[in-house]
Structure formats: C-alpha cells, structure tokens
C-alpha cells in the first residue's frame, strides 16, 4: 500500500465529514433522525455491491452487470413467491440466482478468456432481459408484512434501519478479508501483476472466478434488500445503479488499473454519495443533480492521481541537481544499513 493511497483514504474520510457538514448547512431537515435513516437505507444496496466491486476492480477486472443481477435476483424472488414458494425459500432462490449470474460472468472471463468489460456489458443486457422474461410487465407487489417491516423498518428506539446491520457486518468481513487475509493479498497481487501472481503460486483464475461469484452474490443480497425496501419486485428496477457503484468505488481510492485501494475509502465514498444526494434533494436541487455530481466525482477520482503523479515526477527530477551519480553507484550506495 503506497503512502499516497493512505492519503487518498484520509481525503475521502474528510470529504465525508465535509459532506455531512454541508448537508446540515444546506437544510435544517438534514440532520434529523428520519432523514439520516433514509440516507442509510438509500445507500445500503450500493454499498453492499460496492464492497464486492472493490475486490473485483482491485484485481483488475470489472462488472457492469451488477444492477441487472440485482434486478434479476429481485425478479426471481418475486416470481418464486408469486408461484407459491414460501417467502424465505424465495429469498434463498434470489440469492442463488445472483450467485449464478456472478459465476456465469466469471466463467466467461476466466475459462473463455473474454474481456470483462465487454462481457459484462453483454450480461447487463442479458440479465435484465431475463428479468423481463420472468415477470413480464407485472411487478409483484404482494409481499409478506413481516419482511417488508424488516426491509423498511428500524431498530426500535433508534434511527438505524435493520438493513444497516447487515451492511455493517458485510463491510466488516470485507475489510478484514481484503486487508488481513491471504485472499486479500492475492487480490492485490493479481491486480498489480497477474503474471507475477501466477508465477508466485497464486491461483489466479480460481481467485478471479470467486471474485465474480461474490460480486454476483452481493448483487443478489442487494436485490433482496431492494425488494424488501420498495415492497415490490419489478423488472425495471435499479436501472443505471452500476455506474454510481463504480463511481463510488473509484472515488473511494480504488485505481481503475487495479492493485490499489482500501475498503474504508470505498465505504466512506459510498456514504459520501448518499449524503450528497440527500443534501441536494433537501436543498431543492433536482434528483438529476446527483447525476452530474457522480460524473464529476468520477472524473475527479481519476484526474487527481494523474496530476499528483506528474507533479511528483517533476519535483524528483528538479531537486536532485547536487547528488548526481551513475547507475552503478546508486546501486552500491544503499549499503549503509
């Protein structure tokens, strides 16, 4: 982990604090419990998927089909329930569908060797199409009270939605795996140099397949959460979500080139986006301003590293006028312990 990335990390954290501050300033309604609860709920599906997407992008791949997978899981849940399957089982069905979508993506990329960008653009269409095929034009709106209560409700006495608990648990696991287990190390290694990873005994293809599968599963989880929150499974939900997720992941410090990123940065970035969206809405901006903000954040998150890199290269060249040595001497110089 380079020092620069830790700085980016802190930067996003500061940005989050700034965003919350901005929100409170822009509107009195911002900081009240029911709004904060709304923000958390709003952010949950994005965040759950972003956790897995972070792993994937760090490893050098990408998945544009996540929103469609979310939607297909939701549609499968609705379809099964409408067909008479008990709701709990239907939930499992939805999760399995998400997993299957991820595995299919992973299979195409690892076994057939197809580029993940192109392939997931295709499965984005494929999975969404299948949602339509499952449900036709009829959303499923009759869902069990109990579950809708969980999807929408909060822990009694607090403003924290139930779904946030799920998010916190998943985020904790993701953070631990990425930064403290060998699977996380493998992910970084593959992103930095996939060939070198292979030569170091890391099972590159198997790991990538797992990452795609996890992304699909998380999209499935998000799909279930989404269905419960809106109390409806419909074929055209979550359109365009993938772009916000990727924007958040990149803004969180994960490099699009792979090999770099922190989980905390990603979480802070997703929260920031949610906060900004809410703040803008409350201040009377159109929902569409969020689009512009997401786009701008995306661009900023890629332009900034470039600029700092160029600046750093220039200062390195300029500052060393007095210490010129030949390459050979530089190599031997590092002998003083």
């Amino acid at each position: 982990m380079t020092k620069w990335n830790l700085t980016w990390d802190k930067g996003v954290g500061l940005f989050l604090i700034f965003a919350v501050f901005l929100g409170s300033v822009l509107s009195d309604n911002f900081a009240n419990p029911s709004n904060l609860s709304f923000v958390l709920r709003d952010v949950t599906e994005f965040a759950i998927i972003a956790l897995a997407m972070a792993f994937l992008i760090i490893s050098g791949e990408i998945d544009l089909s996540v929103a469609s997978t979310l939607n297909l899981s939701s549609a499968s849940l609705g379809f099964l329930y409408r067909a008479g399957v008990p709701f709990e089982v239907a939930i499992v069905g939805g999760l399995l569908v998400g997993l299957a979508c991820g595995l299919f993506n992973g299979y195409l990329v690892t076994k057939l060797g197809l580029p993940s960008l192109a392939v997931t653009i295709a499965t984005l269409a494929l999975y969404r199409g299948l949602s339509f095929a499952l449900l036709g034009n009829q959303p499923v709106n009759e869902l069990p009270e109990f579950w809708i209560g969980i999807g929408y409700g909060r822990i009694p006495g607090t403003f924290i939605p139930w779904s946030t608990i799920l998010l916190v648990v998943l985020a904790g696991v993701a953070w631990f795996v990425l930064h403290h287990t060998r699977y996380g190390r493998w992910t970084f290694a593959i992103g930095v140099n996939a060939e070198g990873a292979k030569f170091s005994g890391i099972p590159v293809q198997r790991t990538k397949l797992m990452l795609f599968a996890m992304t699909g599963l998380m999209s499935g989880v998000a799909g279930v959460v989404y269905t419960l929150r809106f109390a409806s499974a419909s074929p055209d939900g979550a359109v365009g979500y993938e772009l916000s997720i990727i924007a958040a992941v990149l803004f969180g410090g994960v490099s699009i080139a792979g090999g770099v990123g922190t989980m905390w940065g990603v979480i802070a970035a997703v929260l920031s986006l949610g906060v900004i969206r809410s703040a803008l809405q409350l201040a009377g901006f159109t929902a569409n301003s969020l689009l512009i903000v997401s786009g701008a954040l995306l661009l900023i998150s890629v332009i900034t590293p470039k600029i700092t890199e160029t600046l750093r290269n220039r200062t390195r060249a300029v500052g060393k006028e007095n210490t010129k040595k030949t390459i050979r001497e530089v190599g031997n110089e590092k002998s003083t312990p």
């Binding site: 287990t181 190390r185 493998w186 990873a197 060249a317 390459i327 031997n332």
Partner: protein, 505 residues
C-alpha cells in the same frame, strides 16, 4: 568487406561527449560512437553501461543533455521518434513491435503509407514490400497479417521497414536473443547484405562469439562512458571482457565441494507440442544440474512445465517418488519446488509493491494464523532474508522498482528460498546483474547445494554453466542432445551439442 574508414572516407555518424541524466542518475557521462557506412559495428557493455540510453537518444525516444551528434556531416536534430526516422535512423528493438492486426506491407510502411493522389495505395505498398523482402533474401507474404509470425520473421519486417526509409544507420538491439541457429544464420546473411549496400549497422549483443564472427569494429561502454573502440581483427574476446568489466574477473564461480545424495526430482519423457519433446532427466539432492543451450532451445519452457505454469501434453514429473499434477504451480510449491523465473520484472516481482510484500507473497499461509496474516511475521521474514542475502535497500516498505537489478534478483531469491524448497529452479539467475552481485548469487547457490538443495539452473552463459554445474543437460530446439559431467565438459563440447553436432568419443 570494404570499409569506408580504410579508404579514409568520413564517418556517417559521430556521437561525441554525449551525456544524459534521469533525475539524480547519470545514465551517460561521456559516451562516444563513430560509425562508417558499410560496416557492422558492435556496441558492447554490461547491463547498465548506457548502451540503450545512447541509442535511445539517437532514436528520438529522449534527448541527450549534452554532446554533439553529427549525421552524414550535418548536425543531427534531436526531436521525436519521427524526426529520427526522417533523418535516416532505424532502430530494431529486442522485442520487435509490429502491429499484429495490420498486414506485413502496411507494417513496413507504417506512418508513411504510399499514396496515389492523396489516398493510400495498397497495391504499390504490397509490390514495394515484396521487392524489399526479396532483396533481403526472404520469402514472406506481404498480404498476411503480422499476428503470429515468428520473432525472426518480425525482425525481417523491421529490417525491411528500415530499408524502406532509406536509413543510413540501422541499430539492432540484441537481435539474436530469441532466434534459433538457423535464423541467426539468416540474420547474419541479411546484415552482410545491408553492409554491402552501404548501410551502417550497429549491433548490440552480449554474445561475443557472434560479435567476433559478424562485426568489423566495436565500441565498449562502461558506467555511462565509452572506454574503448577498435577493429575486431585487432582485438580478442579477453581484452573486450576486460574493458567491459573494468577489473580482473576472478573467482566469479565459487564452487564448493558437492555432497550429492538421492534422486529428488525425476522428469520422464516430458513433451509439449511445438515446444519440447521427450525430455527426461533426474536431479539429486546437493547437485547443481544445468540446462544449457542457445536461447530458444526450449529450456525455459521445460522448467515452466515442470513447475506447472504451462501444462505439458505427456510425460510425468515426480518429486520424492510422488507424481506432481500438471499445470498447478501451487501443488509444485507445496511439494517443495521453487522457480526463480527468467523475466524478473514481469514474472518474478511486483514492481510497484514493497520489498516486504514481495518476499512474503509465497509465504502467506505460513505467516498466518487461521485467516489472519500476521504483519509482524511478514516484516521479520523480509528482514531476515534481506540480511542473509545482504540486500542493499533503504526501507522494507520501498517499492522494489527502486532497487538495482542485482538487488531485485536477491528479492526474488529471498521469496523462493524462504519457502525452503527441496528443488530450486533458477532461470538465467544472473542475467542483467552487475559482476559483484553475480558472484554473490553463485556463492549462494553453491552453499544451498551443499546444504542439500537440488539446484536446476538454466543458463545461456557458458562460463556460468561450466563454473557451477555438476552435470550439464544440453538442449537444442526442444530436444535433448546430450549430458556432460563436470569433469568432461568444456566449451567446445557444449557448443557442439547445442548447435546440433555430435561429439566424437
């Protein structure tokens, strides 16, 4: 061969007192090079001597900070690569880079397509490239796409490109590194043709035997400066090596008395279509077993198959009696095999990652309790090996790309020795390393062998093979040509086997 210089003609290229720095590092201090038309000129020097930097200044990849360059009597304009091409400089890099999706004809004329009233004229380009290929004595179809043609053919296309630009100076950077013997012969013929047609060819190579066979004059560089220049006919390989190294080369191969034990690794009739066939050998504990041969003989492919990077078609690999599955590096690792790969930067290291991370990457399971990777164990492992191998570094958190080639190799060795393998395979262990570190690496391998490790070494450097190995397995174009014991081996025998001959016994 007739040299303009022997007739007193002016040089076609003069580079005088050229200097270049990158940040705080002086890559060129006082470099000089003089070329005459119609000659093949060898540019020699160890890695890091500055050969590449000098040639890149000529090629327009960067600009020299100081010095004068004169081409055909006129000052040379240092600018972009396009400027250099227009002034008559053509460079053929070690890895020829063609455009795989374009035809050979378009590759030859890339950026300067022939036109007819402003529009690209395909027929003219095909005709012209066919003529060029003929002139070089090669049959290639200008209409085929460049994807998939052999490296040797790619070089020919690059040479044709150089000719089509009416280049007065053609630079070839390590052109024979990836060629078979037949292809090397073909290349030499082409270079002789070029010479006769008046071009000046700069030939960068480490293979002194080739240099002495082909070239007319040579220039030796060391530590960024030119230290000598002479007619090939007036010097010897020993003198050249002395100039290159700058000091007495003594005890480069510290070999300890071997203690050879039982057979640990058995390779039986290993075959992979198009790469190698019917390879069988045994390696014992404590022995240094060398795979020798020319570059391109298939040795790296064999060891990659043994380790599991590539799958082989038939045959078997057995370690201590247990058969290893094909295509599973992790299985080979846990069984006790380690592979220090040929390409340090691409295959052996994570350049942007820290020293500690690089050393620990093969040890992650060992360094964890359950799932948790213990950071402190990571750091201490890296520290321990850094000390043992006398690694020269500033901080373990530094990215390895800041280290010198020799120290980078030490990091790769650390990461593999730390796995405590029974069989250590090293592929070109001292390529691109300064002389001092070379000796250290050799000493280390010898020590490990004496401690019972079986060492399999692939090397294209004869002195290294002769100095280190207990047994030498010679390959040529994917087949086993013969095995020599240490006491019976000498350079002639190895070269004979490596080039397809038979040793008279």
């Amino acid at each position: 061969m007739v040299l303009a210089s022997s007739q007193g003609g002016p040089p076609v290229l003069e580079m005088v007192h050229v200097a270049k720095s990158f940040g705080g590092v002086r890559a060129l201090v006082d470099a000089n090079l003089t070329l005459y038309s119609g000659e093949a000129h060898a540019l020699l020097g160890e890695n890091g001597a500055g050969k590449s930097t000098l040639l890149k200044a000529l090629a327009g990849v960067h600009k020299a900070d100081a010095g004068e360059i004169t081409l055909k009597g006129k000052p040379f304009e240092q600018g972009s690569t396009k400027d250099s091409i227009e002034q008559g400089i053509a460079v053929i890099y070690q890895e020829p880079s063609l455009f795989p999706d374009l035809t050979l004809a378009e590759n030859v004329f890339i950026g300067r397509q022939l036109t007819n009233s402003g529009l690209v004229d395909w027929a003219a380009m095909e005709k012209a490239s066919r003529e060029l290929f003929n002139r070089l004595g090669v049959t290639l179809d200008p209409h085929q796409k460049a994807r998939g043609i052999s490296i040797a053919d790619q070089q020919i296309v690059e040479i044709a490109k150089a000719l089509s630009t009416d280049a007065s100076v053609i630079v070839m950077d390590e052109p024979t590194a990836a060629l078979s013997s037949k292809e090397v012969e073909r290349l030499f013929t082409v270079v002789r043709n070029l010479r006769e047609q008046g071009s000046a060819v700069v030939f960068v190579s480490h293979r002194l035997d080739e240099v002495f066979a082909l070239c007319d004059r040579m220039t030796v560089m060391r530590d960024g400066s030119t230290v000598g220049s002479a007619l090939i006919s007036e010097t010897s390989e020993n003198e050249v090596v002395q100039l290159m190294v700058g000091r007495e080369v003594s005890d480069l191969y510290p070999k300890l008395p071997p203690k050879i034990g039982e057979v640990v690794l058995e390779v039986h009739k290993l075959s992979l279509e198009g790469q190698f066939s019917d390879i069988s050998f045994e390696v014992r504990a404590g022995e240094i077993f060398a795979l020798a041969g020319l570059v391109g003989s298939g040795r790296s492919e064999v060891i990659r198959a043994i380790f599991g990077i590539d799958r082989y078609d038939s045959g078997s690999v057995t370690l201590n009696g247990k058969s290893l599955p094909t295509g599973k590096p992790a299985a080979s690792m846990s069984a006790g095999i380690a592979l220090v790969p040929e390409d340090r930067r691409q295959q052996g290291l994570f350049m942007a990652s820290s020293i500690a991370r690089n050393v620990a990457v093969t040890l992650l399971k060992k360094l964890s309790t359950w799932l948790l990777v213990r950071k402190r164990r990571e750091e201490s492992a890296a520290e321990q090996w850094a000390t043992t191998l006398q690694l020269k570094f500033a901080s373990l958190d530094d990215p390895v790309e800041r280290l010198s080639g020799g120290n980078q190799q030490k990091v790769v060795l650390s990461k593999w020795l730390a796995t405590e393998p029974q069989v250590l395979i090293v592929d070109e262990p001292t390529r691109g390393i300064d002389v001092g570190t070379k000796a250290e690496v050799h000493r280390l391998l010898s020590q490990k062998a004496q401690q019972g490790m079986a060492v399999v070494m692939v090397s294209s450097e004869l002195p290294e093979v002769l100095g280190m190995a207990d047994r030498i397995f010679v390959m040529r174009e994917g087949t086993h040509m013969g095995t020599l014991n240490r006491d019976e081996a000498d350079p002639e025998k190895i070269i004979t086997l490596a080039t397809g001959g038979v040793i008279a016994r």
